[in-house]
Symmetry: C2
Subunit: 417 residues, 2 copies
């Protein structure tokens, strides 16, 4: 399968195959790119130059001469094709949480006057719910949690917008972006999508599906580095109505006029806030070079093949009934991760107080060189990044998982079998 993989050579654009050294984590199988993407080879040299020459020698001149000032929009335009957006619709900067605040408040201000509520994905990554509640408190609306699958039935004429995760962080379920967006629009509400777990793993189609606002991080499938800046998408036709709750000087129509009165910039720079974080932005820009010549459709094809194959291997190598997949079997409802829930029968294994067994299983996997992650109470998450994950990686991960689970007393004695 690896020999037939058209993306196989892209792996060389990443630092992955260091000399085996378990202590350093340099080798092994890395299936946590859905939390922190691996290091693209283009980053170290680029950042060394940014620091030594652009900052160290040119200093302040780099704001113009090295293109620092325009980096948020320039890099936004490089992310745009990966999420189905035209140029001038994506701006990079701030954290996902900060961009969620801009999107939700900005969305409420564009919604109809009589709106009283915001719908929030009931299974959302927590920060979306926290920020939506703050935005609602500050705009006089209420928040109502709704399962993504129920939004079409729950949206009313009082709904300003719904904030929904494209891929569920815990289960890897892919929510129906076109259908939910259409249902929201039919009721006069806006659609605000969180793309953290989908961007870079599958086609999103923001423009094609008329999404109003979207945010996402860049450190998962976009491999921008730890805490790299997030982005904000604003549908082109809504940009002139977007009123940011964070109108920092970078979003002014003429920032260096130092005007005491605020006049928002035209277009997507209106989504900027303060001075952009150049080291992290330019690391992200270098990381995006890994996408040169890669189509998101090819990535999706490989992603589904990888997760299909991993699920097959789990079935082959892991004793029955010890884990079960929370990730949908249906391709149209699957993101690029597989989440396995540990059976309650494993509850007493390892015997260490307080730590759920799934956490201990993941610790042991990592010790054996297979890096995924654990989400309470019982979920083992394995992320598949088609740019660098191989089919051999998927098989080895399932094999080692089988070994670790078979070593548990409940499994080896047949109690859970």
């Amino acid at each position: 399968m690896d020999a037939a993989d058209p993306l196989a050579a892209i792996r060389d654009r990443f630092v992955l195959d260091a000399a085996p050294d378990e202590a350093s984590g340099g080798a092994g199988v890395y299936l946590d790119g859905n939390s922190l993407g691996a290091l693209p080879r283009a980053v170290p040299g680029r950042i060394a130059d940014v620091i030594a020459r652009e900052w160290g020698q040119l200093r302040i001149r780099s704001w113009t001469e090295s293109g620092w000032w325009t980096a948020p929009e320039r890099i936004g335009d490089k992310i745009a094709p990966l999420i189905g957006a035209g140029p001038g619709r994506v701006v990079v900067g701030d954290s996902t949480s900060v961009n969620l605040f801009k999107a939700v408040v900005g969305g409420v201000r564009m919604a109809g006057k009589g709106c009283t509520e915001i719908l929030v994905d009931a299974t959302t990554f927590p920060t979306d719910g926290y920020i939506a509640r703050s935005a609602a408190r500050m705009t006089g609306l209420a928040v109502r949690p709704v399962e993504p699958g129920g939004i079409a039935d729950e949206v009313t004429e009082r709904t300003a917008l719904a904030l929904v995760n494209h891929v569920d962080y815990r289960t890897g379920r892919l929510n129906d972006l076109p259908g939910i967006t259409h249902a929201l629009h039919s009721a006069g509400a806006l659609a605000v999508w969180d793309l953290c777990h989908s961007a870079g793993a599958l086609p999103v189609g923001l423009d094609a599906h008329h999404v109003d606002l979207a945010v996402g991080c860049t450190y998962k499938y976009l491999n921008g580095g730890p805490g790299s800046p997030a982005y904000l998408y604003i549908r082109e036709s809504l940009q002139e109505r977007f009123e940011s709750p964070l109108p920092g000087w970078n979003s002014h129509a003429d920032p260096f006029a130092m005007d005491p009165a605020y006049t928002p910039a035209d277009g997507i720079p209106r989504g900027r806030v303060g001075t952009p974080d150049i080291l992290s932005l330019l690391a992200l820009e270098a990381a995006l070079e890994a996408w040169d010549g890669v189509s998101i459709e090819a990535v999706r094809t490989k992603s589904l093949a990888l997760t299909d194959f991993f699920l097959e291997c789990v079935q082959a190598y892991v004793p029955p009934d010890v884990v079960r997949s929370l990730t949908p079997q249906a391709h149209e409802r699957r993101g690029s991760q597989v989440s396995l829930a540990c059976s309650p029968k494993l509850g007493s294994s390892f015997g260490q107080g307080g730590t759920p067994v799934a956490g201990l299983v993941m610790d042991e996997l990592i010790r054996r060189g297979v890096v995924g992650d654990f989400r309470p109470p019982d979920v083992l998450r394995f992320g598949f990044t088609p740019l660098y994950t191989s089919f051999a990686d998927a098989e080895r991960a399932a094999w080692v998982l089988g070994e670790v689970l078979r070593a548990l007393p409940e499994v080896s004695s047949g109690d859970a079998g």
Copy 2:
């Protein structure tokens, strides 16, 4: 003066004295550290290791094993002594504008119920005013601009807080932090200070003067790099009452519990929002090593000596009445920059359409290796960073300024003399 300077050796901790190369900007006199601090020598090696080993090899494990997760508070504690704060009162992350929003909204929520207004420094850097107006709009208050010197007279029992710049970005005037803070407290209002142009240049004394909230950037006198993250200070006794308008998951009491209900963390982590921007944070941490063994009092002594000497040299080398200093002569009202306003008599010089003459003078200074900056309509700014600026730098800058100004037709013909 340089031979007698106890801080002279600290200059070696920065990349400044590269081989003269006008085109690269590598040599010359750098007096723009009040906009972007020079590169500390500790940064390139540290960031190379962060990228290659912590991200490239350890990957996700670095969130715990490399101390990434706790970086915002750890680095806050390293900035704290420079601004007179005890440990646990400063958290690093987000831009200055975002932290201003947290501070102003958080401050309004702690203020008395009957408060109806926010006072904002009428001479503020623009972003403070823009963000204060947004915060006021979202909390139902009004904004009233007041000159810092008039705050004691203007504050009333309806004032929730005042947001004031410690050092004025345009003129270099140092505002009376102890006096204004005391006046605000006497009227029952909170004091929120913007330290962007003072932190790292002079003692601030946040704890000693009972400041309530403060924010500042780290890329000026703290040399953290372009767009490096800002910080938020919350007075210890107010922390449990601080309600962030940006309650991202990093500010949760137990972030990895992934709790749908928000419970704020105790202490200063409550000021966090989203995932911290690790490359920029750790560059800042390395940059702060330049402060090892340096007292802020020694920095202040040298800063005043530098600006005194520069003003003397300007008087000696620049023809009379061509420029005048906007920066106060009195030490207790002077920051660490000198702002010179160009005489209106120079209005027609250079003859290029649209660009104010002061902008053209600064362009010519930069061409001759003296880097300051220009703020419209007529201000030449020269920043003095005591960690690396020498007295020889100050003299050369004044000398070159005299040369540039004497070459103007209005000056050489005696019209402006």
